[in-house]
């Protein structure tokens, strides 16, 4: 050996830490340099506008999607239809591509050691990667929202929006509602992003890591189609993708939405924290890196515990219990009667008849399920409602029948069953010609939580 331990030592200084902003900037550069991101950014800022503009001008509308049947009537329906699609497909896929790959990319490229030697702080690397993926996801979500709104307003116009209880939402209120709805959808998006980070950290270059947010989102959607108890439904991190519907009733169904947002944020925080802890524990000299499976288990168990705790808290706090779908006869009757009354006023205005108020109409509904009579409950397409109302100065009581298809998440489609002059035909004859009949078919929602639990 040419040197000895006894020789004078050149004592080198400890390295200075690089600010997170520099690492963040580098992570952004890497993300933006990927062809997938380069493709997604313009796609998210252009495609929704084209989609909304084209669909709004077609004779066939996406009536299966909430607000889809209103796309001819107002430009504000476009961004809400887009949000419905985005919650199901676009946002989970976007989070998969961005957050699900942000750590795995380093495994795939074999650049972890290079990055660690340069930055020398896993904490900073994690923060920079999480922030960079969050930034890109926000950019993509903003693109979807802005683009679909611009497309709708340019193609159809700035008309009032018919809410999910039939009341008219003025353009400014519709704008605020659209903004708020997209904002609330960020919570489950962040939850999926957190799951993406966790999958990316634990599963590395495995395709499962990349697909995890999309697979979780698919599982959550399937779960929402099942007849789950309300507390379980609200405790799932994707519920805010549905609960924003409550913004378009009067008063707004804020409680389920707030719960959905809180659950989404709790999942985002928990999944991200788990990803951080597991990332910190990783040994980057271990080529085999065989801790992935253990880490995956360590990531799953806390999230399962979070779900269990959330279910219990929601069940107790809202009084919904841990059983029951939340779809009950009384709530369905109130929802249908209220919406009918609002829409009846719209039809009255279309027909140039003297205006009446909802109070004057005094609309009531009697709903049954499956031909039964009492204590009907639960989702199904076998609901039937008969709505009754009065007009000022008229002794007779009007009545109209509806077939209802109620999905487990509380959304319903009411299909007019006559009489023809009221709700049995899709057009009404107005002084200006034929127009869509607002009472023929309409969408609505039943509030799943006990109404007594409202604050």
């Amino acid at each position: 050996m040419t040197a000895t331990a006894a020789a004078p030592r050149a004592v080198a200084g400890r390295p200075g830490r690089v600010p997170v902003t520099r690492v963040f900037r580098f992570e952004l550069v890497k993300l933006v340099s990927q062809w997938r991101i380069r493709l997604l950014v313009p796609a998210c800022w252009v495609a929704p506008a084209l989609f909304v503009a084209v669909v709004s001008r077609q004779s066939t509308l996406p009536v299966d999607t909430l607000f889809g049947r209103l796309m001819h009537a107002t430009g504000w329906a476009g961004p809400l239809v887009t949000l419905g699609f985005a919650g199901s497909w676009a946002l989970p896929l976007l989070t998969s591509v961005v957050a699900g790959d942000v750590f795995a990319a380093e495994d795939r490229l074999g650049t972890w050691r290079h990055l660690l030697v340069a930055v020398r702080s896993p904490r900073r690397i994690f923060a920079a990667k999480a922030l960079a993926s969050l930034t890109v996801i926000l950019l993509l979500v903003a693109g979807l929202a802005v683009s679909s709104t611009v497309g709708g307003l340019l193609a159809v116009g700035n008309q009032p929006l018919t809410g999910l209880d039939g009341h008219l939402v003025s353009p400014p209120d519709a704008a605020a509602g659209v903004l708020l709805a997209w904002g609330c959808a960020l919570a489950p998006t962040l939850a999926l992003a957190g799951i993406g980070l966790l999958g990316s950290v634990t599963l590395g270059r495995s395709p499962m890591g990349l697909l995890l947010p999309a697979l979780v989102a698919l599982a959550l959607q399937l779960a929402q189609m099942l007849p789950l108890p309300v507390a379980v439904r609200l405790a799932l991190p994707g519920y805010a993708f549905i609960a924003w519907n409550g913004l378009f009733t009067s008063p707004a169904q804020a409680e389920p939405l707030l719960i959905g947002v809180a659950v989404g944020l709790a999942w985002a925080a928990t999944a991200t924290a788990l990803a951080f802890v597991l990332f910190q524990r990783r040994d980057f000299t271990d080529l085999a890196d065989g801790g992935g499976r253990r880490a995956a288990v360590a990531g799953v168990l806390p999230l399962a515990a979070l779900t269990a705790i959330t279910v219990a808290v929601i069940a107790v706090a809202t009084g919904s219990g841990i059983t029951g779908s939340g779809i009950e006869q009384g709530k369905v009757q109130r929802a249908v009667a209220t919406e009918f009354a609002h829409l009846y006023r719209l039809q009255t205005a279309q027909l140039n008849r003297p205006d009446v108020t909802e109070d004057q109409l005094h609309a009531t509904a009697v709903c049954t399920k499956g031909g039964g009579s009492a204590d009907a409950a639960g989702a199904g397409n076998d609901w039937r409602c008969v709505v009754s109302w009065r007009l000022p100065g008229v002794a007779a009581t009007g009545s109209a029948a509806y077939q209802l298809d109620i999905t487990p998440d509380g959304r319903y489609v009411a299909d007019g069953d006559g009489p023809k002059e009221v709700n049995g035909y899709f057009l009404v004859r107005t002084p200006d010609g034929d127009a869509p009949n607002p009472l023929w078919q309409f969408d609505g929602i039943v509030e799943l939580l006990p109404t007594g639990a409202k604050g």
Binding site: M1, T2, A7, R9, A12, L109, R113, H114
Partner: protein, 319 residues
């Protein structure tokens, strides 16, 4: 010769589960020297290099880098650079962008960091603005070296830097490493190419199954070695063969070739044979070891410990 150590490891043990990657390994790398790390696959070379870069800390033993004890992962002092398990490059970025990003991550100003000079040193100036996606393995190795140079290292740690290099690339890399050592930088590199190690390194450590089989100057390794096989081409092969048979300590290896003589000998006996050939007026046209001294020593040391299987693996690798 410098008296200051760039890296010093004492009693390093590192395990991954039940696998002992390093078992009480000692290593000293002097500043101004190139230290070679050789060993069969799985010997623990990359693990040791990773510890020198402080990517992790050993389970037992201690490491000093540039005179500073490393007690936590990623806690190496300034002045350490290099790569293990291949250079970390981002294929979607150009060569220049890769280097600029690295400089920025280290807190420097890419505009004043001398990116062009570093690229020029490794012979990549012409492709500075090409994406690394299209780079060959050799170009990636050179870009990785350029990235390490930008850190102004005092200890440079390189894992098989000669992999995939063509002769021109090899010349660039060897030139850079030699200059760095001349400037006082301690370089530790692993390689399966014994000719590279012999050409570059003044000292070598041979690892085998996580343990040090040998550590010291190359000359010492050759001296400690067993007899080597040499190939001789002379102007009179029959006379040379007869002369070799008369020299004590020389064994003739029958190789079936009429014009070449292969003998097995220690250096003193070989010197005696050459002297006698010259005195007898027999021209010596070629005298080369059948395998390099380092390779022979490597094979000898690892075979002693690992048996014939290791030798077969190395031979396979050489092919």
């Amino acid at each position: 010769m410098s008296a200051i150590l760039a890296a010093r490891a004492r009693g390093i043990t590192k395990c991954y589960g039940d696998v002992v990657a390093l078992d009480h390994v000692d290593l000293e790398v002097a500043q101004g020297h190139v230290h070679g790390l050789v060993g069969p696959n799985g010997a623990g070379k990359t693990t040791l290099l990773g510890l020198l870069l402080s990517l992790a800390v050993p389970d037992d033993g201690h490491i000093e880098i540039l005179g500073t004890a490393v007690r936590r992962a990623l806690d190496a002092p300034d002045g350490v650079a290099g790569f293990v398990d291949g250079p970390g490059l981002y294929p979607s970025l150009t060569a220049r962008q890769n280097l600029a990003a690295l400089v920025a991550l280290r807190g420097g100003d890419p505009r004043a960091a001398g990116l062009d000079e570093a690229l020029d040193q490794v012979g990549l100036a012409d492709v500075a603005d090409d994406r690394a996606h299209g780079f060959s393995l050799g170009m990636r190795q050179r870009l990785g070296l350029a990235a390490a140079l930008l850190a102004k290292p005092r200890l440079l740690v390189l894992d098989e830097p000669s992999n995939g290099l063509d002769p021109a690339g090899k010349r660039h890399v060897h030139g850079v490493l030699t200059r760095l050592a001349a400037d006082g930088v301690g370089v530790v590199l692993s390689s399966h190419r014994m000719d590279d190690v012999e050409a570059l390194c003044s000292e070598v450590t041979i690892l085998h199954t996580g343990r040090v089989a040998f550590s010291g100057p190359l000359g010492k390794l050759a001296a400690e070695n067993r007899e080597l096989d040499y190939r001789l081409l002379t102007s009179d092969p029959p006379a040379a063969r007869a002369m070799a048979a008369d020299v004590d300590g020389i064994g003739i290896i029958e190789n079936g070739a009429a014009d070449a003589l292969v003998v097995r000998a220690l250096t003193p006996a070989l010197d005696e044979l050459v002297t006698r050939l010259v005195r007898a007026g027999i021209a010596l046209r070629e005298l080369t070891p059948v395998v390099s001294p380092l390779e022979a020593a490597f094979l000898g040391l690892t075979e002693e410990r690992g048996g014939q299987a290791m030798s077969a693996a190395l031979s396979e690798e050489r092919r």
